[in-house]
């Protein structure tokens, strides 16, 4: 299965590519009054209004700032995901499209099922699903539905 990798500070993370609707440059966010701090704001994606979560703040790390390299993952909503999936959709998946603002995206990687390892207990985190070893680095596979459910 294909995963799109991205970085958050010095940590490498990845999300399954089939859950992604599109990746866009981070430009301007429309502020949302009263929204939690971890929401960067709303963006307009071809008529769809999408709330964007600051991944850094959501994961308890440094805030992701808008830069030349920062990007927004727009995730498919539960209906869109159902249309392209052969398997049952994670019940946590949001009925709305949601965005994750990240520092920078990396390459797309192909990961075999048997490469997916459980997250070590001392690293456990509600958003982490698996760990994949690539060369000398670890890449953490996220449960995007979980992260997005935060919003």
């Amino acid at each position: 299965m294909l995963y799109s990798t991205f970085s958050l500070g010095r940590i490498q993370l990845a999300v399954p590519i089939h859950t992604v609707l599109e990746i866009v440059r981070a430009t301007h966010f429309h502020p949302v009054r009263g929204a939690p701090e971890l929401i960067d704001g709303l963006i307009n994606l071809r008529g769809k209004v999408v709330a964007v979560i600051n991944t850094g703040l959501a994961m308890g790390a440094a805030r992701v700032e808008v830069s030349d390299e920062s990007r927004i993952y727009i995730f498919k909503n539960s209906k869109e995901l159902q249309e392209v999936s052969d398997e049952p959709v994670d019940p946590d998946t949001s009925p709305d499209n949601l965005g994750l603002h990240v520092d920078a995206i990396g390459p797309v990687i192909d990961v075999d099922k048997d490469e997916l390892q459980p997250v070590p207990a001392n690293m456990a985190h509600p958003f982490y699903q698996h760990v994949v070893r690539r060369n000398d680095d670890f890449i953490i596979i996220l449960k995007p539905a979980k992260a997005v459910a935060l919003a």
Partner: protein
């Protein structure tokens, strides 16, 4: 993209290196390979889905890839042009400052020469000798007692001329000439027999000197033949006046023959790159021309001999304005060369002789890779975004980064789309892989070239700062040499030793007056003081300081103690910049020489002459002249300062960041410099990153330097 401009260095330009041409070919062919891939993608879109919206999405992505590839091809074309332009601009700017340094160096030296001759001509031994010689000539020869008086006056004049030459070693000879134009005394014992009796009445310098109005006037004869020497001479001259009175009648002349060739050789060969055996590299020349465009001195007598009209383009021969400069390329001595010419701007009140400094270097030298060390702890990105890199190159860098990001984004979104198409989308994957691969490989190559360029720019800038620091230390060394010469000569004045001598008797009023006259013709001293052998100030030049200084005990002052140890008239001492009771406010730099009993050349000190150099006023203009410049203006964050042996700043153009009186934390290799050694590097201070060029003092002629270092810096962030 930046303003479109004509490509000056297209990829077939002869200066473009083979490696760069190969990189260009590779980048362009890879990018051109993207178009058929995109076309293939458009065809596949029709095969893999019937959904017109999905087909459109795929086609849109393919078009975007084509657009960005096309844009990268265009960037590549201007990219190499910009790389070479940046190198060219920076090399030209460095060459221009080199040509300027050389002419400035000689001009400052010549200015000092004009002070010298005017002052020396007032010497008693000279006007006495001329008076006797003129009288003898009018009587058609001296006899008996007159003859012996004349002969001892000539001997005395020769001795005094020798004393001057011993202090000011940059003269080949000094002569005094009677009203008829006959040389009656000379300084150079080796050539005296040939020179005495020579008739210079037909030479312009003599005729013009005799017509000067008063003691403030002098004349200079540009480099030309004279019967006094075998080689061409640069002669400064002025009239010797009756009774040594500044306004008296001209009774003869004094001519001083500056060692122009020797001095110019040092200056011309300086800063030229040399091979392992110390020979100047082929194709590099440095020379001066006079106002008639004739060569007066050159770094290579074979290619550019004295008196020649070198094959310079017309634009280089018609510089009119003082300080004007021009750069062009032309064939010179068989090489395609960069020619730089800089017209003398004179110095202070000295207008100069309208000379022009020329520097010639092979065009290829401007584009050579610099092979210096590159481990300054700066990342390529930090360097690429620094101020050392021209704005246009920085914009290109950002544009490449942006295109790289866009292509990556398109690729990933393509993969998302292909994934959504399920099995049928699988055939798309290799296309997007290919696009990602091409995008990152080409932009990666361009980034590599840019970081190579930025490393070159760093090297060039470090070299330029090193040259500037070398200029700063040399100018101060040369300036201080003059001070060391001044103090030695003045200390031999008969008024001083007569009044301090055993018989004494003379009032110190005359000593005060004499010191006052000297100080009036030399603007760089705050005061001149004389202490007797007990360390008590007995005279000074400035009336306004007299009450404060008169009778002051200075026996514990460094300069006085040094002065009392000296027993020869050619020796001097110096007290490094420090606070002193002699000065009300400022710090002093005091030069000293012993006043020897009976005016002997070797003898017992009867007092000490101390001269208080106006250090700050002299050092600051030099430092300001040595600040790094781009297109004539000082670069932002540029600063220059001198540091003494104890690493304390003694003069600074930027008191906010490098204050005088405080130690500055410089890299050790920049302060532990041996005599005449230079170094460069990167350091952080005041929360900013600086690049720095430093040079250690190596003195000049008899002046040995005080272990100071000069530093020229600029910020890079």
């Amino acid at each position: 993209m930046n303003e479109p401009q004509e490509i000056q260095f297209n990829i077939y330009h002869p200066v473009i290196t083979y490696e760069h041409r190969a990189a260009y070919d590779l980048i362009v062919s890879q990018l051109q390979g993207v178009f058929p891939i995109c076309n293939q993608g458009k065809c596949k879109a029709l095969e893999v889905t019937d959904d017109p919206q999905k087909q459109k999405q795929i086609n849109d992505l393919m078009e975007k890839v084509e657009f960005f590839s096309d844009s990268l091809i265009n960037i590549t074309k201007v990219f190499f042009d910009q790389l070479y332009r940046a190198k060219e601009t920076s090399a030209q700017s460095i060459s221009q400052s080199m040509a300027k340094i050389k002419i400035d160096m000689i001009e400052r030296n010549l200015l000092e020469r004009t002070c010298d001759v005017r002052w020396w001509a007032l010497e008693k031994a000279f006007w006495q000798c001329i008076t006797l010689s003129n009288a003898a000539t009018s009587r058609k020869g001296a006899k008996g007692a007159d003859a012996s008086a004349l002969s001892s006056a000539v001997e005395m004049a020769c001795t005094r001329l020798e004393d001057i030459r011993n202090c000011y070693t940059l003269y080949r000879d000094l002569v005094i000439v009677n009203a008829q134009g006959v040389v009656v005394a000379s300084s150079n014992a080796d050539r005296r027999s040939q020179v005495l009796g020579r008739d210079v009445s037909g030479e312009a310098w003599f005729q013009r000197a005799m017509k000067t109005q008063d003691g403030t006037e002098y004349v200079v004869q540009d480099v030309s033949p004279s019967c006094l020497e075998d080689s061409e001479s640069l002669i400064y001259a002025t009239a010797i006046r009756a009774e040594g009175d500044e306004h008296g009648q001209a009774i003869g002349a004094m001519g001083v023959l500056f060692d122009f060739q020797g001095e110019c050789q040092i200056i011309l060969n300086d800063y030229l790159p040399s091979d392992a055996s110390g020979e100047t590299l082929d194709g590099w020349f440095s020379f001066f021309t006079n106002d008639k465009d004739q060569v007066i001195c050159s770094s290579d007598q074979h290619f550019i001999p004295f008196g020649d009209f070198p094959g310079l383009p017309k634009s280089h021969r018609s510089l009119l304005k003082a300080g004007e400069s021009i750069v062009s390329t032309a064939i010179f001595a068989g090489n395609r060369s960069l020619l730089v010419s800089h017209k003398s701007a004179g110095f202070n009140e000295y207008t100069g002789l309208n000379w022009t400094s020329h520097l010639v270097l092979p065009v290829s030298a401007m584009f050579e890779r610099s092979l210096g060390r590159n481990d300054y702890g700066l990342t390529p990105k930090e360097l690429m975004n620094s101020r050392l890199i021209p704005e246009s190159n920085r914009q290109t860098y950002q544009e490449i980064q942006r295109n790289k990001g866009d292509i990556q984004l398109i690729s990933i979104n393509g993969i998302v789309l292909a994934t959504d198409l399920g099995k049928s989308g699988k055939s798309f994957m290799p296309i997007f892989d290919q696009i990602t691969e091409t995008g990152s490989s080409t932009t990666g190559k361009m980034e590599l070239l840019l970081s190579e360029m930025s490393a070159d720019m760093l090297q060039q800038n470090l070299k330029a700062l090193e040259n500037l620091s070398k200029q700063a230390i040399e100018l101060i060394d040369r300036n201080l040499f003059e001070r060391a010469a001044d103090v030695r000569w003045w200390s031999t004045d008969h008024v001083f030793w007569e009044s301090l001598g055993a018989q004494g008797g003379r009032s110190f009023d005359e000593v005060n007056r004499r010191l006052g006259i000297i100080n009036a013709s030399y603007t760089m001293y705050r005061d001149l003081v004389i202490a007797d052998a007990n360390g008590r100030i007995v005279a000074n030049s400035r009336f306004e300081n007299r009450e404060r200084l008169d009778g002051m005990t200075v026996s514990d002052h460094g300069w006085f103690r040094q002065g009392m140890q000296l027993t020869r008239s050619i020796q001097y001492g110096v007290q490094d910049v420090c606070k002193s009771d002699l000065e009300a406010v400022d710090t002093s730099l005091v030069y000293c020489a012993a006043i020897l009993e009976n005016g002997q050349r070797v003898g017992k000190p009867v007092g000490v002459l101390g001269i208080l150099f106006d250090w700050k006023q002299q050092a600051l203009p030099i430092l300001e002249e040595c600040l790094p410049r781009m297109k004539g203006s000082v670069v932002l964050g540029g600063a220059a300062f001198y540091v003494n042996r104890d690493k304390v700043v003694i003069a600074s153009t930027d008191e906010a960041n490098f204050p005088v009186g405080q130690a500055v934390a410089l890299p050790p290799e920049n302060t532990k410099l041996r005599e005449g050694q230079s170094a460069s590097g990167v350091f952080s201070a005041n929360g900013r990153k600086y690049i720095i060029g430093s040079s250690g003092s190596h003195g000049y002629r008899e002046y040995k330097g005080l272990g100071w270092t000069a530093h020229v810096v600029r910020t890079i962030d």
